[in-house]
Structures are given as structure tokens and as C-alpha cells.
């Protein structure tokens, strides 16, 4: 909420000798608005009484010559239009009052005062760094005698000018109240000039902008999901069709739990299912591997199971692999025929079983052969063989 002056509420005092300084607002001030009164008086008296709820914001003085003060109040309900201040002695005084909206409920931030002798340039003194941007800066300038203010520095706006009355002009004073909303939270120091060198006083008070209520709502949506890159867990490659042509290949590397299934045919030289897994690999080929160099192979550390339920046909047909340990459950089986020169089942397991036909080359193991082995040879080392075959 922007700070705004209710210019219709401007009022001023220019009085002769009196112990009171009374401001009269044209209309009842609006509850919650800031009321500001700046006034200066001749002589070295003090303000001994302020209207109910009014607070001193800043004061200034120049000994016995001229003094001044800025008072403020946040208007209450049914705020009186009159605000009367009492001086400790009868003096000539002049001042200006105004009303502002958009001000913080606890408005006063910074204040300062200054004075000088035989000068034409008045300055309020630096405020120090303001607490926030957009503060209302109220500047009070007053000079001995009836003078004209000719220049107001820093683009401040004049709220009003008043002069005390009675006696000689030299016994009076001229007072200006000016204002500006400071854009930044920096220190400010405002000036004004008069047309003849005089004793002067000035003061400044800054008031914070009303607290703003920021209402927010939102709908947070994650980015559109994208899957890209390398997956290292639970990969499963499944091919249910036929891979045809030289070089057909299903391969990959996964760290755990890989399962390669090829339920169709791998046809032509070089058909290949291969890969490495650390644990629990299962390679299954339920179809025919046909052609030179058809291969199902791999390396598993533990618990590997190879199954080739179809035929391995052609020179070099091969079912092979190594198991390092705990292969008590491993079974290498080739339920079909191994045809051709060099057909081979080889491997190492402690208690495995090989059921096959063809040339059998084995080490370490107990082998069971249930096959027709025409014109083939069987070689083995270390272990006993049970052969149920027609040779």
C-alpha cells in the first residue's frame, strides 16, 4: 500500500505569544492514518504537554533563539480534529500538520535534528540507514525572522509554510514542513535554502510504509519424466521374435539379476546370446541355434544355469561355461542332439550332470551320458563316468 498524503487535511499554525500551539484538522482523521505535526518556537522553552496519543519523533534547538519538534500519532477511532501542544513558556510559534495513509502501525524509524547560525542553507542531519525502502521522510525547517524559502533539496515536496505573528519580524519565525518518500533503504539528509542568512533549526523523522500482506498460492509440478542412460538394476531383455541374419545378437551387461530370454530362433552364422553377470544369471534358449559358431556362453560366479532345449547344429556348436563354486545345483543339459565335428559340452562343476549326445569333453565331474554316440570319442580325467549309450 503506497504512502499517500491526504492533502485536504493540511493545516498550519502561525501564532503570537502563547503557551499553546493548536492544530486543527479540517476533517476527522481516518483511523490508522499517520498524523504529523511539526512546529518551531522562539525562545528556549520546552513542550510540556502533548495531545493524547501523540509522540515525539524528533526535536531540535538552538539555545535561546529557536527550537522545534516533530510529533506524530496513529489516528484512533473518533480522532479529535484538534491537537493542542503546551509550551513551558509563552512564545511565538509556527508549524504545519498533515495526515498520511499507508503507514506502518508502529511507524517511526529514524530521526535527527540540526541547527545553525547566520546561514542560508538548512539541513536536517543524516538519518542513518533507513530500515526499509519507501519510507516517508518528514522534514521540518524553521528560521528566525520572516524569510522566504527558495530551494528545497532532494526534490522534496512542501506540505506547508507558516509564520509566527506579533512584534517585530525579527522576533518571529518562519517554518516549513516538507516531505518525500525515500525510494531506497539508505541514509538521507535533506536541505533547504532561505533568502537571507539567519539562525535556523531543522529536524527529520522517517516513518515506515504499512506492512503489506502478500497472498500466494501455487501448483508445483515436477519436470516431465525422462528415462535415459544406463540402468544397472533388474534389467530384463526379452525377444519373442526371430533374429535372422549373420551377426544377430542379444547382449548386455548388468550388475545383478539379469535375465536374457530368447524364445524364438537365432538363425545364421554368428547368432549369439552372451553377457556377464555377477550373480544369479539365467540364460535360456528354448529354440534352435543353427549355423556355424552358434553360441550360448557366459561367466557366472555362482548359481548359473544353462539350458539349451533345442538343437545345436553345425561345426563348432558349443554349450560351455565356468562356475567357480557352489554348483551343486548346476545342471548342464542338452536335450537335443549335438551334430557335427567338434560338438562339445564342457564345464566344471562339483556335482553336476551332463546329458548329451556328441563328443563329450569333461574334467573333474561325474558325467552321465544318455545318448547315441556313433563314431565319437569320450575323454575324461579324474572322475567316474556312467555311460548308457550305443557306440
Amino acid at each position: 500500500m503506497a504512502i499517500t498524503e491526504l492533502t485536504a487535511q493540511r493545516n498550519s499554525v502561525g501564532a503570537g505569544q502563547s503557551t499553546t500551539v493548536t492544530f486543527n484538522y479540517p476533517n476527522t482523521p481516518t483511523q490508522g492514518n499517520l498524523l504529523v505535526a511539526g512546529f518551531c518556537w522562539r525562545g528556549d522553552v520546552t513542550v510540556t504537554g502533548a495531545p493524547s496519543g501523540w509522540n515525539l519523533a524528533a526535536s531540535t534547538g538552538n539555545g535561546t533563539n529557536i527550537d522545534g519538534a516533530i510529533y506524530y500519532k496513529i489516528a484512533g477511532s473518533s480522532e479529535p480534529t484538534a491537537a493542542q501542544f503546551t509550551l513551558s513558556g509563552s512564545q511565538k510559534a509556527s508549524g504545519v500538520a498533515s495526515e498520511w495513509s499507508g503507514i506502518h502501525a508502529t511507524p517511526l524509524d529514524k530521526a535527527n535534528g540540526s541547527s545553525g547560525v547566520a546561514g542560508i542553507t538548512l539541513n536536517t542531519g543524516a538519518t542513518g540507514t533507513l530500515s526499509q525502502a519507501n519510507e516517508l521522510v518528514i522534514n521540518l525547517f524553521s528560521s528566525r525572522d520572516t524569510v522566504n524559502f527558495t530551494v528545497f533539496g532532494q526534490s522534496q515536496s512542501t506540505i506547508g509554510t507558516a509564520q509566527s505573528t506579533g512584534g517585530t519580524t525579527a522576533s518571529r519565525n518562519t517554518t516549513v514542513l516538507a516531505a518525500q518518500v525515500a525510494n531506497a533503504a539508505t541514509s538521507v539528509d535533506y536541505t533547504a535554502q532561505i533568502d537571507s542568512a539567519q539562525t535556523w533549526v531543522a529536524a527529520v523523522a522517517t516513518f515506515k510504509q504499512a506492512a503489506v500482506t502478500h497472498a500466494a498460492s501455487g501448483s508445483l509440478a515436477g519436470q516431465v519424466a525422462v528415462v535415459a542412460g544406463i540402468a544397472t538394476h533388474r534389467a530384463k531383455h526379452t525377444i519373442s521374435g526371430t533374429l535372422s541374419g549373420q551377426g544377430s545378437q542379444l547382449s548386455g551387461v548388468s550388475e545383478r539379476y539379469r535375465h536374457h530370454d530368447a524364445s524364438g530362433n537365432l538363425v545364421a552364422s554368428g547368432s549369439n546370446i552372451s553377457g556377464d553377470v555377477a550373480r544369479y544369471r539365467s540364460h535360456e534358449s528354448n529354440a534352435d541355434l543353427i549355423g556355424q559358431g552358434s553360441v550360448v556362453d557366459g561367466v557366472a560366479v555362482r548359481y548359473r544355469s544353462y539350458h539349451a532345449d533345442g538343437d545345436l547344429v553345425g561345426q563348432g556348436a558349443l554349450l560351455s561355461g565356468d562356475a567357480d563354486r557352489s554348483d551343486s545345483v548346476a545342471i548342464h543339459s542338452a536335450a537335443g542332439d549335438l551334430f557335427g565335428q567338434g560338438s562339445s559340452i564342457s564345464g566344471r562343476s562339483r556335482n553336476g550332470e551332463i546329458v548329451a549326445s556328441g563328443i563329450i569333453v569333461a574334467t573333474y565331474q561325474t558325467q552321465s551320458i544318455n545318448a547315441t554316440l556313433p563314431h565319437h570319442e569320450i575323454s575324461a580325467t579324474y572322475e567316474s563316468y556312467t555311460i548308457q549309450a550305443t557306440i
Binding site: 506502518h104 530500515s131 526499509q132 525502502a133 519507501n134 531506497a184 533503504a185 515506515k208 510504509q209 506492512a211 503489506v212 500482506t213 502478500h214 497472498a215 500466494a216 498460492s217 501455487g218 501448483s219 508445483l220 509440478a221 515436477g222 516431465v224 519424466a225 525422462v226 528415462v227
Partner: protein, 129 residues
């Protein structure tokens, strides 16, 4: 091709993220930053003990968020917000703007000291449908 997810998957993803906020987290409005280096905190709004309800159709709705009635404030505009644990670990980082942003805020993006910041509604969706 965009990846799509079942409703169950989207609910699970959303709930998993909001659960990371834990008990008594905070929504903080901040100056510009990123999730690795969040900007200066300008306002802090405590989340409910359970920050979000269970996700439905992939989206979770925040339970009541306590307003910050005395914001720390800053002369610069807020640009981001974070949803974080009570210990300050950022879980979600998003944008704040006057309109068309993740979180839209009225009253200007410059929050002065003492201002009030309130969030009337907030939803979170982890994955697209």
C-alpha cells in the same frame, strides 16, 4: 517419446518426495538462488506437522500453512521458494513470481520487514501423467 506413468506410480513418487519434508518443515520465500545454493530467506512460513496429504491422481495438496506475519523482508524481490525440513534441508526448490510462476504472489514481490506473507493453497505433482 515422453515417459508416462500410472496413477499409482505418480502417487508413489509424489508421496515419496513430500515425505522427505518430514515433521514441521517450512516454506521459505527467498531471493534468487538454486537448490544447491538457495537465496537469502525473506519470509518463513511453517508447514503443518504433516506438510502434505496423500497424493491423489499424482498430486498432493499442502495442509494448512501458517502465515509469516512479521517477515524478515529484503529490499530485493523474492524469486524462489523452498520446501524444506525443520532442520533446513531443502527438498523442493521452485520459482515465485507475480503470475505464471510456480508460486504466484500478490502485493508485489518485494517483501518489506514486518510484512505478512500468507499462502492459501499449494499442490505438488512429482511426475507427469
Amino acid at each position: 517419446m515422453a515417459v508416462t506413468h500410472s496413477t499409482a506410480a505418480r502417487n508413489a513418487a509424489t508421496d515419496a518426495v513430500t515425505a522427505l519434508i518430514g515433521v514441521s518443515g517450512n516454506l521459505k520465500l527467498r531471493l534468487a538462488g538454486n537448490i544447491g545454493a538457495p537465496g537469502t530467506v525473506v519470509a518463513t512460513l511453517p508447514l503443518s506437522e504433516d506438510a502434505f496429504g496423500d497424493a491423489s491422481s499424482g498430486t498432493a495438496t499442502a495442509n494448512a500453512i501458517t502465515s509469516d506475519t512479521n517477515a524478515a523482508g529484503n529490499a530485493s524481490e523474492v524469486a524462489n521458494a523452498t520446501l524444506e525440513t525443520s532442520g533446513g534441508t531443502v527438498v523442493i526448490h521452485c520459482a515465485v513470481g507475480a503470475s505464471g510462476s510456480d508460486i504466484n504472489m500478490t502485493g508485489g514481490l518485494t517483501i518489506a520487514a514486518g510484512d505478512t506473507v500468507e499462502v492459501s493453497s499449494l499442490t505438488y505433482t512429482a511426475l507427469s501423467a
